[in-house]
């Protein structure tokens, strides 16, 4: 495609829900000259053979995407105490605590 054709068509991202109570999923991208056209083309390009309860069209250039430096800046150290898996040994600790409390004559809570 020439540059002028590229400027005329824009990329749109298509999101859909299979049923009204299911989360929105990103499905496909397509080229269209505007949003209304993107909507009618999305329907017949991607939902000829499957039901669709909801359809969202977003112009790709309207999406604030992550940059590479942000990808790096959003790194983090592992902190198990912030996740469920950091508490897998809770029963064991509780038993040990109760045992210690029993030795000192305090039954605990």
């Amino acid at each position: 495609m020439t540059d002028s054709v590229h400027r005329f068509y824009e990329e749109y991202e298509v999101f859909s829900r299979k049923k009204g109570d299911l989360p929105l999923e990103h499905r496909f991208s397509l080229l269209a000259p505007n949003m209304e056209m993107a909507m009618i083309l999305a329907k017949e390009n991607f939902f000829r053979r499957e039901p669709v309860a909801d359809l969202w069209i977003v112009k790709r250039s309207d999406i604030r995407k992550m940059t590479q430096s942000e990808r790096e800046a959003f790194g983090r150290l592992e902190k198990p105490y912030r996740e469920t898996r950091g508490y897998g040994d809770l029963n064991e600790r509780w038993r040990a605590f109760k045992a210690r409390a029993g030795e000192s004559g305090d039954a605990g809570p």
Partner: protein, 264 residues
């Protein structure tokens, strides 16, 4: 079923089958040639749907003893076809395999005119006194809302686009308007079809079509000149252009040359 009832029922079914069949064929000639690939996919899908609708009507004709549905589509003489002439006209100069110079504005206006009419006709046929037809119309109409939305979007956008688009659309509009009357015609048996409760009257769907098209024209500030005509004759009475004969000989070439090849 009286002989008269059967005659007009069969005439009506040929109108329905042939309209969808020939326009789906004209649409399929656009494959690979539309403005961009997303439209190519959407348009092809619409054509497949319309071909499916034709197949439903041809099957009803087979059930009435008219012969095999594939034969009805491929082997009849042009004069036996009952489609509106507007739907058989070539897409433009050239052929799909050789220097096609098709007119997208003509495709948009023709399909838009037809799909506005098809919606009106299907809604009327849901109340047809011939139960298999009423049932078929109820089934087909579920796919029709999208077809109409698709062509209406194209119609409005191109009419409200650049000066060049407007000029080309207005040219296509006068071409289609000159033969739009043939869409609305029920042919010489029309009054009898309505008397038997098979369809609404021609006047009823003409009024509904004029009203619906008038609303779309108002949205884009277009005023047609005169009433929809039948410049190339009334296809419902077997009057057709050379374009139909040419299309039929191309689309039936394999079917005629080797019945084994299409035996599946």
């Amino acid at each position: 079923m009286t002989p008269e009832y059967r005659t007009v029922l069969i005439e009506l079914l040929y109108q329905l089958a042939d309209d969808n069949f020939i326009l789906a064929y004209r649409g399929s000639e656009w494959l690979g040639l539309t403005p961009h690939i997303e439209e190519d996919v959407a348009f092809s899908s619409i054509n497949q749907n319309a071909m499916g609708h034709a197949a439903i009507y041809y099957q009803m004709l087979e059930d009435l003893g008219e012969g095999k549905s594939d034969d009805l589509a491929h082997l009849r003489a042009p004069a036996a076809f009952r489609n509106a002439v507007l739907l058989e006209l070539k897409n433009g100069p050239g052929n799909y395999w050789d220097a096609p110079d098709y007119d997208w504005a003509f495709a948009v206006v023709r399909h838009f005119f037809f799909d506005v009419f098809k919606s009106i006709r299907l809604n009327a046929l849901k109340k047809s006194g011939y139960p298999p037809l009423a049932a078929a119309a109820g089934k087909i109409v579920t796919e029709q809302a999208y077809h109409l939305m698709h062509w209406e979007t194209w119609f409005v956008q191109l009419m409200m686009s650049t000066d060049e688009a407007r000029r080309r659309m207005e040219k296509a509009l006068s071409l289609c308007w000159a033969d739009a009357g043939g869409l609305l015609s029920l042919g010489k048996w029309g009054a009898v079809m309505a008397e038997h409760g098979l369809t609404a009257t021609e006047a009823e769907w003409r009024d509904q079509w004029r009203q619906a098209i008038g609303q779309s024209f108002a949205r884009v500030g277009y005023v047609p000149i005169g009433e929809p005509g039948m410049a190339h004759g009334d296809g419902r009475n077997g009057e057709h252009t050379a374009d139909l004969g040419e299309a039929l000989s191309i689309l039936s070439e394999v079917y005629r040359s080797d019945p084994q090849a299409t035996g599946w």
